[in-house]
Amino acid sequence: MSEEETHNAPIAPEAQPEEINASCRGPVLFLFFSAAVWAVQATGVGLLGSLKMHVPGFLADCPFLTYGRLQANAWVAFLYGFAGNAGLGLTLWMLSRLRGMPLAKPGFVLAGAFLWNSGVTAAMVGITMGDQPGVAGYELPAYASRVLLIGQAFIAFSAIITYFSRRHQQLYPSSWFLIAALVAFPWIVGTAHWLLVETPVRGAAQIPVAHWTVTSLQQIWLGCMGLAAILYFIPKITGRELYSRQWAAFGFWMLLILGGWVNLNSGSPLPVWSIKLSQYASALFIFVLIAIGWNLRQTAKGVPLLGSSDLTLQCMGFALGAWLIAALFTFGNFYSDWNGLLQFTYAGTAMRQFFAWGFFAMAMFGAVYYVAPRLFSGEVDWACSGTYKWIFRLTAIGAVVILLAGLGMSYGHGHALQDGSAEVMKKALMPMRIAFLGEILFFLSSLIFLGSMACLLFRNCCGECSPMALIRKCRAAEAEGGAE
């Protein structure tokens, strides 16, 4: 499409932010609230599972509560329940805002959100009954992934109609990331669904497919949604321009190209070439790190993100830092000795948790803090103002604890594995036991998040729609009319 064509095409007038907010209200709040419920579920179930690292016999007589099933459940609840709901909600809001158009087809979103949450529920029930495909990081049974894919398609439909509803001079980088996440999800889950669950390829061929799925879901799907939020809110709140579109584009394409290749363990039972290629991709990942990091550093130059008085900015600052650390870990995986030391330890899982909570959840918490009150008309604020800060604090401390436990303690486990030390089992458990503290903090912050969301909804939504409020409104209108 040439410049001329763009200019010739009629450009719809930009909608007012209030109008856009109002159009998003129902669907996005529903998604955010679901996210809060699933966050509590994910952390609660995860805690129950991790307790077995302290007390192996805990709940051992119930086949539905084995460590493996609880872990699978916790990750599904986090990834699709929390991250999916929050990420999709934010996608809709941000795309509408960036396009300057009200959300199109909100009915589709509500239907999609309903399907999506049914899919997550189905997955949780299925896993509890013992129906998981056997891939740590992709635990969806066939029926659940089908429902999730259809639900996501409904929501993506609305997002894409909104996206095309108005031609804009330039697309802000965040919208690239959001579109990429919308497109990547069906591709990734579709691949895993067909090749691992529906018509599984031969066992030997499943290992690379599973690795690509798990890595892509994390690096591309979660990564794109979280980075979109960071790239949007840091300039938005500081009132600055994003430093460079070029840097952003470079980081974006590199992330998409490399996201599925990285982090293959050097000990994977795969041919040498795929491991070497993955190490190469991990090495190149430093470019993504530099591009994103430099761009945002230049943007927020002189602004102490973490020390800011704005909670959203604090969250985004922490999330950015966490993403950079996780990217650095990915980069480190190119070095076989380092990867060889840590590959069978808790480090990989800890980095996943760190990425999930320190980066993604933190970005979502910050974004929801900013977005949710704006979805209501009038002067609305978080009900219990001080408590939301604790979400940030607890999540941040939890993420740091997990990072330290995962990297620091796993180092000892890795050495014990290589030296055949008799202490190896103890050393394997140490990092997980310490990470348990972090998980408790995540649980608490999820509880507060759910409480805050419920409070906000109850005070503003239920208050607005209750019969008493309606009568009050009518009377006010009458009074106004009378005065005239």
Binding site: Q169, W176, R202, G203, A210, I257, P271, G340
Partner: protein, 368 residues
């Protein structure tokens, strides 16, 4: 970048790169893997029970704490010459002085010289005196080389010393059964240290093409923790997962690696006891008990344990039920899980992953 639709195409293209490289490429390559091992044997699918066990392993999420990935480490080779090349000096030059200095190398060539002299002496029209002198000289030289390693020269192709002469050289005249079966191994190691392939590949080629020697390369694991401490016998490779319905290589080693558990845990009862309660018999373990995979009923007064009861041995060698005062028997699920676990073995070499010799096992672990 105001070309909105192009974003979609660009994203699809960028994603397709890693999809092609990480999904399509390796998966179609692994899909083409054959069960045939090239030596007349082939890999087999699991038995029905073990296949059901794979499902139990999967649905309980055992793969969260156990891996099935044994890895390699530092790696080298021993060259074992099975047939001496004709040119001693060339061979010596190729394998290098530090190895050729090995007395057994010298002695093998001395035997070869004796065999040649013997042949010359028995040839028609030979100069009796001269050949006899040469033979005596060769014999004397061969006998003068003292080595600690026994060398069965008859096993080295191309060196055949017959009759009394063999006796004079300290070689068995009539080979015993043991000697005969060791004929195939009648070789001597030339390399003492560990060498990586890059260092050794030129020598290997030269030895074959220029010196005309025949040899075997024996892979030697120098520092393979998984082999030395974890009971694995070689690294895990793609084909180990050929017949898995769901491949579960695992992520973390909270528990031990299971790639060779079938070979180190042959005792079915011990395996059941481990699954039932891994702390049974005072073992240190943090694995949760999986008692729901077993039938448990209280034992009657003075009842003999049935043959399929899960037992542990107490200190004085007496077997007692894994749960005192109860009779514990495996359910079908436990039997299937155990069958699956026992099917996990990597103690048989594959063409792409032969069993390496292990230099030194400093701390062999009991089967966990």
């Amino acid at each position: 970048m105001n070309k909105s639709p192009w974003i979609f195409l660009g994203v699809l293209f960028a994603l397709s790169l890693s999809w092609w490289g990480m999904v399509f490429g390796p998966a179609s390559q692994a899909n083409a893997a054959k069960a045939d091992l090239g030596d007349g044997t082939s890999l087999h699918p699991r038995s029905g029970l073990a296949q059901q066990g794979e499902q139990i392993y999967r649905e309980n999420g055992c793969y969260y704490c156990h891996t099935r990935m044994a890895t390699g480490g530092t790696f080298g080779y021993e060259i074992q010459i099975t047939q001496l090349g004709a040119d001693k000096d060339l061979t010596r030059e190729i394998i290098g002085e530090e190895y050729a200095g090995n007395k057994i190398f010298e002695k093998a060539y001395a035997f070869q010289a004796v065999a040649a002299a013997q042949e010359a002496a028995t040839a028609e029209g030979a100069d009796v005196e001269a050949t006899k002198a040469t033979l005596e000289q060769a014999k004397a030289y061969a006998n003068a080389i003292e080595t600690e390693d026994a060398l069965i020269a008859l096993g080295i192709s191309g060196v055949t010393i017959e009759g009394d002469l063999a006796g004079e050289l300290g070689l068995p005249i009539e080979m015993s059964e043991a000697d005969k079966s060791s004929v195939a191994d009648a070789t001597f190691a030339v390399s003492e240290g560990i060498e990586q392939w890059d260092e050794i590949k030129d020598r290997v080629r030269a030895l074959k093409d220029r010196a005309g020697a025949q040899f075997k390369l024996l892979p030697v694991a120098d520092n393979w923790p998984d082999v030395e401490y974890w009971g694995a016998r070689r690294q895990s490779v793609t084909r180990d997962f050929l017949y898995d319905v769901h491949a579960m290589p695992g992520v973390m080693r909270v528990g031990p690696d299971l790639s060779n558990v079938g070979a180190r845990q042959l005792d079915l009862n011990a395996l059941y006891a481990k699954i039932y309660n891994s702390q049974a018999g005072g073992q240190s373990s943090h694995m949760p008990p999986y008692k729901y995979l077993f039938n448990v009923r209280s034992a009657k007064e003075g009842e003999e344990l049935p043959a399929n009861a899960v037992t542990v041995s107490t200190g004085d060698g007496v077997k007692q039920s894994v749960e005192p005062d109860f009779v514990v028997t495996p359910t079908h699920k436990a039997r299937a899980l155990a069958a699956y676990l026992q099917s996990l073995r990597n103690d048989k070499g594959l063409p792409e992953a032969p069993l390496p010799a292990v230099r030194e096992i400093s701390n062999p672990k009991e089967g966990e």
